[in-house]
């Protein structure tokens, strides 16, 4: 081998990624969330959103919805690595599966009086946001929908006295009669 003398300093390269939504069915045992979140950190995968809840009557099984960004080979690894975890039953890439519904819920607190207050209420109606709390100077709106819709609603509220927001992150399910 010839000695190589490159003057170029080294730079870290980034790969092109795509957004994927995963449904992960797991045993509802202590540490399962840490196990999954830690797997993503340890192997350098990204988590944009993660939601979790029990889905059976006996509370033994949970469904975790993860939104991640990865290249196709990394996506294949993410699924294989998740399935390798002992408490993981099943992993479905809903994005690869095809048609599916994604929703999140946001609680949006807006304070203001006069025109701003009326405008906020009017926009809430357009976005089918429900008022779940009201004072003479504030509202808490509950809005559900896709991420973009909620982003847009929050954006509009920013000019109308937005105080704080709480969002659930995405839950998703495949369309059609079958389980994905």
């Amino acid at each position: 081998m010839k000695p190589r003398h490159w003057s170029e300093p080294m730079h870290i390269k980034e790969e092109a990624v795509e957004r994927h939504t995963l449904a992960v069915i797991v045993d509802n045992e202590p540490g399962i969330l840490a196990r999954i979140a830690g797997l993503f950190t340890a192997r350098g995968y990204n988590i944009s959103s993660l939601t979790v809840s029990e889905i059976t009557d006996d509370d033994l099984i949970s469904r975790i919805t993860i939104v991640t960004h990865a290249s196709a080979p990394v996506m294949e690894q993410i699924i294989a690595q998740l399935e390798r975890l002992v408490p993981v039953h099943k992993v479905t890439d809903l994005t690869a599966f095809g048609q599916h519904v994604e929703r999140e819920l946001a609680l949006v607190k807006v304070a203001g009086t006069g025109e701003h207050r009326i405008e906020a209420l009017r926009l809430a109606e357009v976005y089918r946001a429900r008022v779940v709390d009201a004072t003479t100077s504030s509202f808490v709106f509950e809005v559900t929908g896709g991420t973009e819709k909620i982003d847009k609603f929050v954006e509009l509220m920013r000019d109308l006295g937005l105080v704080e927001i709480a969002r659930t992150g995405i839950v998703a399910i495949a369309r059609g009669a079958e389980a994905a």
Partner: protein
């Protein structure tokens, strides 16, 4: 009440019921109830190590040499954190191991109690699975499940953290719960359509090669027999990773030697030129592939692995087969025979391989008649011991690679080394574990003078249990592999790689009740080895070797298999930043 037992008793009885004969451990506050239960029984032998890391490596050595899971028992806090290196090592090398850690009482968890550490948190990502058991009634099913997980599928370490109050509290022992898990069912049987396709590819290949790994050893001795048959019926050459050495006999003429960074010229060139690679229980590790875009560019690849996540991780393959490698090879052989495939004519392929063999890549210069070249020392050791089929363990570094190149194995479970994690200090405790599992066999730790000091305290363990382990130190007064990389990559700026202030290993050995032998010149080599072998007890050999020898062949990090360095003369200068950033 009559049938209730303490958690500690349940633990020991369950381990015993599961066939555990040896536990490697170290006592401490949070495991005192378990040690009391050990005191009151005689079914399980406890081996007292001198540091918890050594307990894990000893368990690994025991597991690798016997095929049975290794069991470790350590206390909370520092006991558990000291075990982390060995747990990670076992995860990387797929070694079945169950680690029992004591924990502070349940009520104190989370209060920063004395010797408290978040053991399940710390070991979550360096174990195959782990548990915190909060109820003595859950102990037995958890232990059974842990053994099932540790030994099934791709084996690995499982940690069970047991708070002290759970060891003391009582519970009824259940009926013999099954050794299983409610949902974890690793796939072991291959898909037959894929097997048939693999056999077709194998029968049609002009330049096939078997690339085998530690998975064959893990699958059991039957897998090694099947590999021999598969190589015989196809006539194809066989190479192996570091972890797979011994699965295929080195004395067979189809054996090409190890592949990868310090693999043979013929193995790496054959991988590069093959038209079909059959990967069997190997994982396309970066030490094996070199530069990925230049790795085996013109070959179709079949990958048999029990772990689906190994497939397409580093290298895209054409035909993945998720299965136990032994089951897959049996299915391939059955299909091959069923179709009455004749033995393919690979004479042209073999003549090219013979050409590469002529390079003699493992030859080395011996200019000074008195200086012992490290390669010479390993060969002499092999010549003197090969008839006894010894178990060889190693530490990590140049000596490890020289041992892999120049010591030859004809059987599985004879070569114990830290491959994936590359843990210095593995060899001595692993040799202790291997010797306990094989009391009558010759066990030798081939070591470097730097690595051996990382778990040197274990000399006392061997003394205590009268284990006739031999340590053969290739003493070149350098952390040799670090020094070699500094020579290659950093213009010989030997930053902190000189082994200064070395102990007198002979007197050190004697201080621990071992025999010590020093070999300084080549004419002392054979006699020194003979003296070591003749001694009926543990021996440390301090074999002084050439200080600046490099381990070749070598594929530098980030280089292709075809860019192999065979001689020091080919090495010079300083590498660019891209190369420096690679491991």
């Amino acid at each position: 009440m009559t049938t209730e037992k303490s958690g500690a008793d349940i633990l020991i009885e369950t381990l015993s019921d599961l066939g555990v004969e040896v536990v490697f451990g170290y006592p401490g506050g949070a495991v005192l109830p378990i040690y009391d239960a050990i005191f009151k029984q005689d079914r399980i032998k406890h081996i007292l190590v001198r540091h918890e890391q050594a307990a894990t490596h000893a368990a690994e050595g025991y597991a690798r040499a016997t095929g049975k899971p290794g069991v470790v028992l350590v206390t909370s806090g520092p006991g558990a954190t000291n075990a982390v290196t060995g747990i990670t090592d076992a995860l990387m090398d797929s070694i079945p191991m169950v680690v029992i850690t004591g924990q502070v009482p349940t009520a104190l968890i989370g209060t920063d109690a004395f010797q408290e550490a978040d053991t399940v948190g710390i070991t979550r990502h360096c174990s195959k699975h782990n548990y915190l058991v909060k109820d003595p009634a859950r102990l037995e099913p958890t232990i059974r499940e842990a053994f099932y997980i540790a030994t099934s599928g791709r084996p690995g370490p499982v940690v069970i953290d047991i708070p002290k109050d759970v060891q003391v509290a009582t519970a009824r022992r259940g009926e013999n719960a099954p050794i299983s898990h409610k949902t974890y069912r690793p796939q072991t049987e291959p898909d037959m359509v894929s097997i048939e396709k693999a056999v077709d590819m194998l029968a049609a290949a002009e330049r096939p090669i078997f690339y085998t790994g530690g998975g064959i050893i893990n699958s059991g001795p039957e897998a090694s027999r099947l590999l021999r048959q598969l190589a015989d019926v196809t006539g194809a050459p066989v190479t192996s990773t570091l972890m797979g050495l011994g699965a295929f006999p080195a004395s067979d003429d189809k054996w090409l030697g190890m592949l990868g960074m310090h693999g043979t010229y013929e193995a790496n060139l054959a991988m590069n030129q093959a038209d079909l690679i059959i990967a069997l229980g190997a994982r396309f590790d970066d030490r094996v592939t070199g530069r990925l875009d230049a790795f085996a560019p013109n070959s179709a690849k079949i990958h048999v692995d029990i772990d689906r996540s190994s497939i397409n991780k580093n290298v895209r393959v054409d035909l993945p087969i998720v299965a136990d490698v032994g089951s897959a090879m049996r299915a391939m052989l059955d299909t091959w025979h069923l179709r009455k495939h004749p033995k393919p004519d690979l004479s042209e392929w073999w003549s090219r391989i013979h050409g590469w063999r002529q390079v003699g890549c493992l030859e080395f210069q011996e200019s000074d008649p008195q200086v012992i070249m490290p390669q010479r020392a390993i060969r002499a050791l092999w010549e003197a011991t090969k008839d006894q089929a010894p178990i060889i363990t190693t530490e990590v570094g140049q000596h490890q690679m020289w041992a892999a190149q120049h010591f030859h194995f004809d059987d599985p479970n004879k070569w114990l080394t830290s491959g994936g994690l590359g843990t210095m200090g593995y060899g001595l405790p692993a040799a202790i574990g291997a010797q306990l599992g094989n009391p009558d066999r010759l066990v030798i730790d081939i070591a470097g003078e730097a690595s051996i000091q990382m778990n040197i305290q274990e000399l006392a363990t061997a003394t205590q249990y009268r284990l006739p382990v031999k340590i053969f130190i290739l003493n070149n007064e350098y952390m040799g592999m670090v020094r070699q990389w500094q020579e290659l990559t950093y213009q010989s700026r030997y930053s902190e790689s000189y082994s200064d202030a070395l102990p007198d290993f002979v007197r050190l050995a004697e201080a621990y009740g071992w025999k010590g032998i020093r070999i300084e010149t080549r004419d002392q080599l054979d006699a020194g080895i003979a003296e070591m072998l003749a001694y009926d007890g543990p021996v440390v050999v301090d074999c002084r070797v050439a200080k600046l020898a490099n381990c070749f062949p070598m594929i530098p990090s980030g280089a292709a298999h075809t860019e192999m360095l065979l001689q020091s003369a080919e090495v010079s200068g300083e590498m660019d930043d891209e190369a420096k950033a690679l491991v």
